[in-house]
Every structure is written in structure tokens, then in C-alpha cells.
């Protein structure tokens, strides 16, 4: 049993690593593998180095970390809400981010604020992050007074829908150019992230991962339900807060920089459960991280080859997984 898990971990890591290398090799400009290696070791010409290191390596690293972040927050949400259809966006992270971006791209021009220095300093990314964090903070504050986790779930969904409606109003009122840049943002992109932004993103995501690791034991106990968790020495309010905070850091940051990327956070934890045949978060957490990064790298490679937005690729890859799992195992969680 333990040996099977070890073998699977080695195999999955090897696959993820191979995909990482493929992601750096594949691109619109044809660069031979030997040149890619010399570019990374620093001996290639400036153009090749710029393409390989600044563009492709940055993007591949972003894909890797985005995959880890979305999958881990999806895993935490599915266990916390005891719902196989929960994901990183169930509490409104993506609608919060969309709302922030819509206010920035659509609302600011409407109010004639787009040239204001404060507004332009925030940028799309800042607006998205503030939007996502604001929604999650609101949920954290409200959930302090709410005992039933289902109520929090419904609250998150309703809040999402309400924000979605406001975003639609903004879209309806906006001009074509602003509308197009908003729609493009909603399609997601790993390529907009710069090297210096990555230097900010990676530590934030690592912090989110550490918080996720801290919740491993409570999440294992929460599999039995909240009354068992409370009588096993778990402080529910504290655990919820940790999970929400971790999701803000993980999914919030990825969404701010790459746009809403759907279905990775939803499908990957199921893949991890199916492949590793366990419910233990000590295995599921690293497994989801590895599978998640592999899935994002595949998505990035495909989106480069087919010149399609990443969000459409992850949706088309993730949905069959979710459908298959729902059909295969109807009593997946409860």
C-alpha cells in the first residue's frame, strides 16, 4: 500500500518534470533543445535567452505554481464543505476578482477615473486581488457567526451571483474596447506575468501552501463531519479561517495574475483520490499539487500549440474528469 503510493509519487513527479521541460521547449519560435539548455545555463545569444528564460521559463513556472495553488485550494474546499463539486471559486474568489477587474476596466472609464494615478497604479492585477480578498474577508467575518457550513456555501454562491450581476451591468454600460479587454481577462492567461511579478507570486503561494499543510490533520478529521471534528479537539472556527486565508493566498493570487482558470481546482483533487485511492490528506495534498501542476503544464502546452486561451483548455480537460468521476462514484463524499 505504502509502496504503491511511493511509486505513484515518483511516476507523477517524473511526468510533471517532463511536462515542465516540454513547456519550455514548445513555443511559437522553434528553438532546438540544445539551445534551450544553453540558454538556461547562460551561454546562448541574447534573443534566445530572452525567449527561453524571460518568456518561457517564467510562464512554465507560473503554470506550475498556478496548478499547485488551484488544486490545493480546491482540495481544501471540497473537504471543508464536504461537497465534491466545491472548488477554489465556490466562495466567490473568481467573481470577487472579476468584480475588481470589471470596476477597474469598465467602471473607472464610466466614472472618468481611468487617468487617475491611484486607479492606474492598482492595475488589473491589484483590482482583481483586492476584489478576491474582499469577498473572502467578508465570508470569514460572516462565517464567525454561522455554525452550519452549508449556509456559508450558499452565502458564497449568492454573493458570487450578486457580484456577477453587477459585473453584467458594468459590461452592458461599457464601450467596446473596455468590454473586449475585460472579456480577454476572463479567458485567463499565464503569459502576462513578468519575472518580477513571479518573484512576488511564488512566496505568496508558498505561504498559502504552508497554511494548507497546517490544515492536513483537521481536514482528515473533517472527513467525518463537523460534530466529530469538534469532539476530536478541533477548533472549527480556527480551521475555517486558516482554510479561507489559504484560499485567498492561493486562488486569489493566481486569479489576480492569470485571470479565472476554471476546473483545475475542481478536477485535480478527484484525480488525486482516484489515482492514489486514499482519502488521507497527507497523501492527497502533495498528490494534488503534483497532478495540478502537470495539468496546468499540459494546458499551457496545448494553449501554445492551438493558440487558444488557457481557460478554455482547462475547462475542456477538467469537465470530462468531473463527469467521469460523478458517474463512476455517486457516493463520492457523502
Amino acid at each position: 500500500m505504502a509502496r504503491r503510493t511511493t511509486i505513484l509519487f515518483c511516476l507523477m513527479s517524473a511526468i510533471a518534470l517532463t511536462l515542465f521541460v516540454c513547456d519550455i521547449v514548445v513555443g511559437s519560435v522553434n528553438i532546438p533543445f540544445s539551445d534551450v539548455v544553453s540558454a538556461i545555463s547562460g551561454s546562448a545569444d541574447a534573443t534566445t535567452r530572452a525567449i527561453v528564460v524571460d518568456i518561457r521559463l517564467t510562464k512554465a513556472l507560473m503554470a506550475l505554481f498556478a496548478g499547485i495553488a488551484l488544486s490545493l485550494s480546491g482540495l481544501q474546499m471540497q473537504t471543508l464543505f464536504r461537497n465534491p463539486l466545491a472548488g477554489p471559486y465556490v466562495l466567490g474568489v473568481s467573481s470577487g476578482a472579476s468584480f475588481g477587474v470589471a470596476l477597474f476596466l469598465l467602471g473607472a472609464p464610466l466614472l472618468g477615473l481611468s487617468s487617475s494615478p491611484i486607479v492606474s497604479a492598482i492595475g488589473t492585477t491589484g483590482a482583481a486581488w483586492i476584489g478576491a480578498a474582499a469577498v473572502l474577508m467578508m465570508i470569514i467575518v460572516l462565517s464567525k457567526r454561522i455554525k452550519d457550513i452549508m449556509v456559508i456555501l450558499i452565502l458564497g454562491m449568492m454573493l458570487s451571483s450578486a457580484l456577477g450581476a453587477v459585473v453584467e451591468i458594468l459590461q452592458f454600460l461599457s464601450n467596446e474596447a473596455a468590454l473586449k479587454s475585460f472579456v480577454v481577462w476572463t479567458m485567463g492567461s499565464l503569459g502576462e506575468v513578468t519575472h518580477s511579478e513571479l518573484m512576488f507570486i511564488v512566496p505568496v503561494i508558498i505561504l498559502g501552501i504552508i497554511l494548507a499543510v497546517v490544515t492536513i490533520k483537521p481536514l482528515n478529521i473533517l472527513l467525518l463531519g463537523e460534530s466529530y471534528a469538534q469532539t476530536s479537539g478541533i477548533n472549527l472556527t480556527k480551521v475555517r479561517r486558516q482554510v479561507f486565508l489559504s484560499t485567498t493566498l492561493l486562488a486569489g493570487t493566481v486569479t489576480a495574475f492569470c485571470g479565472p482558470i476554471g476546473f483545475v481546482g475542481l478536477a485535480v483533487p478527484h484525480l488525486a483520490r482516484m489515482i492514489f485511492r486514499t482519502a488521507d490528506h497527507r497523501v492527497l495534498l502533495p498528490a494534488s499539487a503534483i497532478i495540478g501542476s502537470a495539468m496546468m503544464l499540459v494546458g499551457d502546452i496545448l494553449s501554445k500549440l492551438m493558440l487558444l486561451p488557457i481557460n478554455t483548455i482547462t475547462a475542456l480537460m477538467g469537465i470530462p474528469v468531473v463527469v467521469y468521476i460523478v458517474f463512476r462514484n455517486r457516493n463520492l463524499m457523502q
Partner: protein, 234 residues
């Protein structure tokens, strides 16, 4: 031993218990009975410190429950809920191992001693052969035994069970009640379980606690049959 001291309870705005006092002795099995909505589950949730009482306190081992940390509480009281656990890929052994949570480190790593305790808990409920079976492949009765084993692995002097015989067929109801009596008498536990199953509970339990008309009263099991008849005008 677990004691209610001047406990008042309410469910929504409906008063359930008014300044009730009651002591459950160790090594005894008590059946908690009452009409639907009398407040059996509410009382058990307060005894387990899942909910707080309106006023009064629950005292275990000489200490008021609310002064203990969540982890310390989990070392004196374990709880088996009505919620059915059906998680895919979760082995029975691992469910019982969750009972060790108040004693393990932040990762939940099991020591040799913890593993022995889990194995003996499985043996006490006669489920050793099921250790490596996924919990979602078990029958309701088998599942209930695993949840009782989980409570045993928690090594608490007090075990509370909310309707442990609901969903079960008649022979299994009798088996579970006999198992609880056996555990109370051989391991010296204070076991309290709510039930509507008078027929299965009365022959094996030591006391019957009746919640009626905002009062809780404790009776020897032998007198309970006639008492229940008069109380509920059967």
C-alpha cells in the same frame, strides 16, 4: 462520571430543560429517552460541548467542561453522532485512528502505541477483520461498530451516542445495545445513548434518563418499563 449542574437548555426559543441536575455514574450504561423534540440530541450536544447550554454547567472529572480546551475536552468525552459516514477510499482502520487525534502531533502521525490502541478498539467491537475495508462498503450496523471503535480509541471516560440504533435492523439493534453495555461494564466507561428503541435498550442498560416536561429524571432500568407506560400513557 459526568454531572449536569443547574443546566437550562433551549432549542430555538423553546425551553427544553429548566435548571436540571443529574449525575451519570461511571461503569454504567444510560438510555436517554423522551418524545421527539423533547431535547435528547440537544442535551447530548451540550454534554459533548458542541453547543453551549443556556445556563448552568457540565462537570466532568471535577472540572466544568467549558473551562477545558477543545483538545482536553476530547480527552474526556467522545461522541458518536447520527451522521452517517460514507467517505470513499477511507479505510475503517483510518476512521478509528481519527480517535487518536487529541493525542497525536500536528500531522496526526501514529506511534506504535496509537496503532495498538486502534487495533484493540477494533477488537473490542469485533471488527478486526474489517480494518482494511473502505468504510463506504460496510453495512449500517458494521459502520456503527466502527464509529463506536473510533470513540473507544479516543480513550475517554465518557462516551455519548446519539441514536446509535437508528437505521439498524432489529437483531443489530440488540447487538449494538449489548455491545454498549459490555463496554460500560468491562471498561468502566460512562456511556449515555439516546434512543427510541425501548425494547432493545431496557434489557441491557443500567439506568434510563427520561426527558419530559423540561425535566430530566434518572430511573433504574427495572422500574423504567412501568414508568414509561405511565409517563407516555401507553
Amino acid at each position: 462520571m459526568i454531572t449536569l449542574s443547574k443546566i437550562s437548555l433551549a432549542f430555538d426559543s423553546k425551553s427544553i430543560l429548566q435548571s436540571a441536575d443529574c449525575t451519570f455514574a461511571e461503569g454504567t450504561l444510560t438510555a436517554l429517552v423522551g418524545r421527539n423534540g423533547a431535547g435528547k440530541s440537544t442535551l447530548l450536544r451540550v454534554l459533548a460541548a458542541i453547543d453551549a447550554p443556556k445556563s448552568g454547567e457540565v462537570i466532568v472529572g471535577g472540572k466544568p467542561l467549558h473551562t477545558l480546551s477543545a483538545e482536553d475536552r476530547a480527552r474526556v468525552i467522545s461522541f458518536v453522532s447520527t451522521q452517517r459516514v460514507r467517505v470513499a477510499n477511507l479505510l475503517c482502520r483510518d476512521v478509528v485512528a481519527i480517535g487518536r487525534a487529541p493525542y497525536t502531533n500536528w500531522m496526526g502521525s501514529m506511534q506504535r502505541e496509537d496503532i495498538d490502541i486502534v487495533n484493540s478498539a477494533l477488537a473490542s467491537v469485533g471488527m478486526s477483520d474489517f480494518a482494511l475495508r473502505p468504510i463506504d462498503t460496510l453495512s449500517d450496523g458494521e459502520c456503527q461498530r466502527i464509529m463506536i471503535a473510533r470513540a473507544l480509541a479516543q480513550q475517554t471516560p465518557v462516551i455519548l451516542l446519539d441514536e446509535p440504533t437508528a437505521f439498524l435492523d432489529i437483531p443489530t439493534r440488540f447487538e449494538i445495545c449489548r455491545l454498549l453495555a459490555h463496554l460500560a461494564h468491562t471498561q468502566g466507561k460512562t456511556i449515555i445513548f439516546s434512543t427510541h428503541d425501548i425494547d432493545a435498550a431496557l434489557p441491557v442498560c443500567d439506568r434510563v434518563a427520561v426527558i419530559d416536561n423540561r425535566e430530566i429524571t434518572l430511573h433504574p432500568a427495572a422500574e423504567a418499563q412501568s414508568l414509561l407506560k405511565s409517563l407516555f400513557s401507553l
